[in-house]
Symmetry: D3
Subunit: 250 residues, 6 copies
Amino acid sequence: MRILLINGNTSPATTEKGAAEARRIAGPGVEIVPVTADFGAGLILTRADNVLAAHAMMVALAKHHKGCDAVVIAVSTDTGLGALREISPIPVVGMTEAALLTACMMGGKFGMIVFDRRAEPVFREVVASHGLTDRMAALKVIDMTVADFADPARIAVLTVAAAKSLASEHGADSVIVTGGTMAGVAHKLQEQIPVPLIDGISCAVLHAITLARLAFPKPSSGSFVAQPIERPKGLDPDLVEFIGRASNRE
Amino acid sequence: MRILLINGNTSPATTEKGAAEARRIAGPGVEIVPVTADFGAGLILTRADNVLAAHAMMVALAKHHKGCDAVVIAVSTDTGLGALREISPIPVVGMTEAALLTACMMGGKFGMIVFDRRAEPVFREVVASHGLTDRMAALKVIDMTVADFADPARIAVLTVAAAKSLASEHGADSVIVTGGTMAGVAHKLQEQIPVPLIDGISCAVLHAITLARLAFPKPSSGSFVAQPIERPKGLDPDLVEFIGRASNRE
Amino acid sequence: MRILLINGNTSPATTEKGAAEARRIAGPGVEIVPVTADFGAGLILTRADNVLAAHAMMVALAKHHKGCDAVVIAVSTDTGLGALREISPIPVVGMTEAALLTACMMGGKFGMIVFDRRAEPVFREVVASHGLTDRMAALKVIDMTVADFADPARIAVLTVAAAKSLASEHGADSVIVTGGTMAGVAHKLQEQIPVPLIDGISCAVLHAITLARLAFPKPSSGSFVAQPIERPKGLDPDLVEFIGRASNRE
Amino acid sequence: MRILLINGNTSPATTEKGAAEARRIAGPGVEIVPVTADFGAGLILTRADNVLAAHAMMVALAKHHKGCDAVVIAVSTDTGLGALREISPIPVVGMTEAALLTACMMGGKFGMIVFDRRAEPVFREVVASHGLTDRMAALKVIDMTVADFADPARIAVLTVAAAKSLASEHGADSVIVTGGTMAGVAHKLQEQIPVPLIDGISCAVLHAITLARLAFPKPSSGSFVAQPIERPKGLDPDLVEFIGRASNRE
Amino acid sequence: MRILLINGNTSPATTEKGAAEARRIAGPGVEIVPVTADFGAGLILTRADNVLAAHAMMVALAKHHKGCDAVVIAVSTDTGLGALREISPIPVVGMTEAALLTACMMGGKFGMIVFDRRAEPVFREVVASHGLTDRMAALKVIDMTVADFADPARIAVLTVAAAKSLASEHGADSVIVTGGTMAGVAHKLQEQIPVPLIDGISCAVLHAITLARLAFPKPSSGSFVAQPIERPKGLDPDLVEFIGRASNRE
Amino acid sequence: MRILLINGNTSPATTEKGAAEARRIAGPGVEIVPVTADFGAGLILTRADNVLAAHAMMVALAKHHKGCDAVVIAVSTDTGLGALREISPIPVVGMTEAALLTACMMGGKFGMIVFDRRAEPVFREVVASHGLTDRMAALKVIDMTVADFADPARIAVLTVAAAKSLASEHGADSVIVTGGTMAGVAHKLQEQIPVPLIDGISCAVLHAITLARLAFPKPSSGSFVAQPIERPKGLDPDLVEFIGRASNRE
């Protein structure tokens, strides 16, 4: 089985971090195919960055889906999730979507750690878009400086403190560590935390395997039917051809 | 890996149906361990039946968990989910919980088919308890008679009609077929339906495998910590011992 | 008129506290019939304890309902409320349900005091199950030690402080003091608090009297119709007979 | 005990209907004191009518509260409920508020029958203002002509049909019959309906008795504190004096 | 174009403050027609005051609407909004309604500053009545003394501090300054605040101009149809005549 | 004053329809500057089309904003609204956002007409994203064929029927006619409909004028602060420069 891991940031280093965590959890018999966006921001931060990344990820899916069984969106705001799911002939899972649904299976309420104050409202919108706002105990922002990002030990200290506070003060029954660049961090810090510490990449890879095994057909009804672009103009030809093809439900 | 499949109905025939679907999807290397409740209703229908089944499933978990890696609740109202998750040292997944979370990964809204008018409000409460009411497009009741249950062809006709209506008239992007006794039906009817047709047992088995692989520790904080029963009276000794042990987080 | 007061804890001392408060408010002409659960936890704390208590309370209702006009559930998580209401030929009121509805009649928003950190999420689920989450101003946990419970003066000090804070800082227009073991405490502390201090037992007794007077028939439609257990196995014979009888709507 | 029943319509005939049902349920030892608004609409239909009635009911409360123990608002849109509760030294219950809370104690979901298409959104707003929208199964409008109102047999036929439909098709576990002019109708039709048929007046009278017995103090904190009118101009002197007095919490 | 600005407080000084801000924003070609309520409280604070003001504003509308193109309610709890909208042949906008809708167009979430602790729940109810509770980041109360109100410099300091806190700590993307007496304050303090500071009067005047230009007809269906008062008693003859006329949709 | 009207469809004919309605309502002294997207779908239908259009509209804003005072998004799914608002130094209004907020000022609940079955869930998501789901009475789909679109008389008949049904059967107090290609239709059909018939373009133009007059500063706090793209790659240079500039808050 092959899982396509699409990073919407144009930074290959981040792609590699995600791929490493994906390979750790996937186990033998599953190949991870990492892909980096061709255009857009090196680090997705704003709503504008997300629009650009969604476009770039659609192109990446068109160019790299062949031979893959499922897709993981390796951007923690689940950028382009609806559009990719719509045009893709194979299942698509967002990394934060996957983390949220896994947190639901821990029961009760989840906490969330976000590493940029600016991203807080966007993450709240992501949770709301899945209909899960009422299951969030609290969200904590660790407002990272560039220096903090270069210092894994400092990230670890701040993350452990935030996770402990979410568990003990806010009653979180599990804690989601967001961020594509944080892939693998949860796994390393788990033993210091009294509740499950959830990482989106590992959850998304396993849920993608599950969806590939369930082997549902591409829908031919509803709002996720693929449909050729009406009179396309100025677009990547691979993307135009892909969406056309997908709508024929090959 | 071994998955414990607990049927809260006291009917071994229903247990076998669920086990067959579980084995079909689990694949090699995963053993399904089916267990039937020792006391309660032969067919769970009412709120009262559910209370009795929840107790019986706690006892079944205590007696049969040894050597298993995760638990599937094979009752479609997810009977006893919170209590079992609390006392169990290994992950627990409800079959309808699993179906709902899988439906979320199809995107958009799901429809639901329920095979007993009386069970409708209980299923609505289950959906609400997961916080997912806003993602339900519609729920359809097929009010089965005993004759209908004995006639698989008739069940198929009614189920296909309901699923098609949910997709085309209510805009459902996927449809959940509830009911432990319906295990395997969705898989057989899928090709007639334009959207994914979701069966709780197969989803629950795959999600249980995912949780076993993620290997989160039993929480030592929050509302799912196991805790010995305070001054127990008149209870099954295996259950009392199990809950005591679990609270020591072996 | 006779009101059956069922305590799901197996501790007769708690039953007596509730019965005393019930008798204080009931006034002449109303007899309180207190009953203690036969099996389960001495003190209900966990979700598992609640499942066991719900079963025990169903049995207690079956054995003791004769000659009574209404039932009060004297466990503050309203354990088994849905199941008991379903099988009972006479009205059933939960003590926290009663407190919540009384708080609604005070107008505005209510505060809630809970005496065990672990119980906080369970109480939030109880409030949500009644659809009243938006009317809760705030919930405060007083995390009691065993020593605190043995020291009524200390309980009083902590309760008064929490209630005052809920009124002045959180804008609560009334405050609910939860807990079967706290029965009567609200009444004693009322004069120190600037808003109504609400006790579930006294509210439940008066609402039970109201329902008995309104004398609605047992429903023969909807999800609270009593229905015999399908092929019962391993259950208390009184319970089986009772549920059968109730379904004949005597 | 004396219960003040304030009708905000300026029609004494409606007041009498409500008073008759109130006396039927109140039982011995409870005196019903019916009062009719001095100004406003003969029959409250619109939002404008409601504003006028709220003012008139404040004046009526000021003039007639002496010697009473609790107040029932005998207008089925609970006109003026917040304002009357604020200025009144004794408890105030709205007739639809009382019906809704009683319906909650029946468990599950309630249906609602409204006798004027125009009033439908206002009743939906009343239900929402109590936070209970999610517990409403459905609302049915019987769009009455003047001829219908003069024909009790026709009202009965239409009401029974609507209530049966709410129970069987919409899954209502109870049905509220709204309308001050419908007082007593539910009681007469109950035996034809498979679920409890709830009348606001009778519920409000019994809940008012309950609140009088609970004897909570007038709040001195929160949004229902009475407070003298700042520089009053052009108002009924009894009202000005009453609000002044009430704020002294006699 | 002429905009009728109705102040429900009986204080002409407050009317003038609102009129000044209205004139500042309205620009040439728009005449502001300020009117003060004839009866009620000098300063509206309580729910009771609001009921009285709603009645007084209906009378004011009846007496002063002639020749006007739209109406602004210059009371920040949008007193009487529904009733005035119902009876008025020309569009009606509430000042807080207008501020809320303008805040929505700033994107994200808004903060709110309220200048009286007692008014906090009433403002929360206003926000809820517009369905916008989920878009409020936070509400801050500045509990003003009479001395504070007489000291504009102190008001400015407190308002700036509250607005800055709402933006930086609560993530508000805009901040609404409530209160008819605060008209014009937001405009003066804007340069000190990092997000839009919104004043209800200026928003309401511009939205009223918009509605006048859109020139929708008075509805002849739905819950805002004007309808003569049924058998009016003891009311202002201008009001009775006005409502009668409006219902003929002149 | 100059209003930039950006059409995300690559069809100039649709742009012209919107511009004509915009000019009709704008009145003298306001210049409408219509712009058509450079790349993407000729007719936006799917989620994928929307992602592409959002990118194209960001580029169009970068290239054409100079000298304009506010922006109208002339795509009825408010494509790219958050991203454009974030990067734009001048106010941005979505056409459906504007229609929704105008509908709110009509009071009560609005109906919505959508001209493509597939677009229904997308419009529901738009309404939800503004937090206004509870204010929608109902949504009606007119499933247009290509023939229908070429036949204005047929569109008129279907739209009038849908609007009348929304008003009379679903209790809508106003009706929103969605669709950039429907610009101007509402105005022409208004006289046949008993409630306000709302068109997004005209509302958006007037609200854009209002926002330009209110002249709030670009926020320097919150989630709509413009921020340069981190290490941009493969993007339109005008867009990169524009976002850089905007973040300097010129």
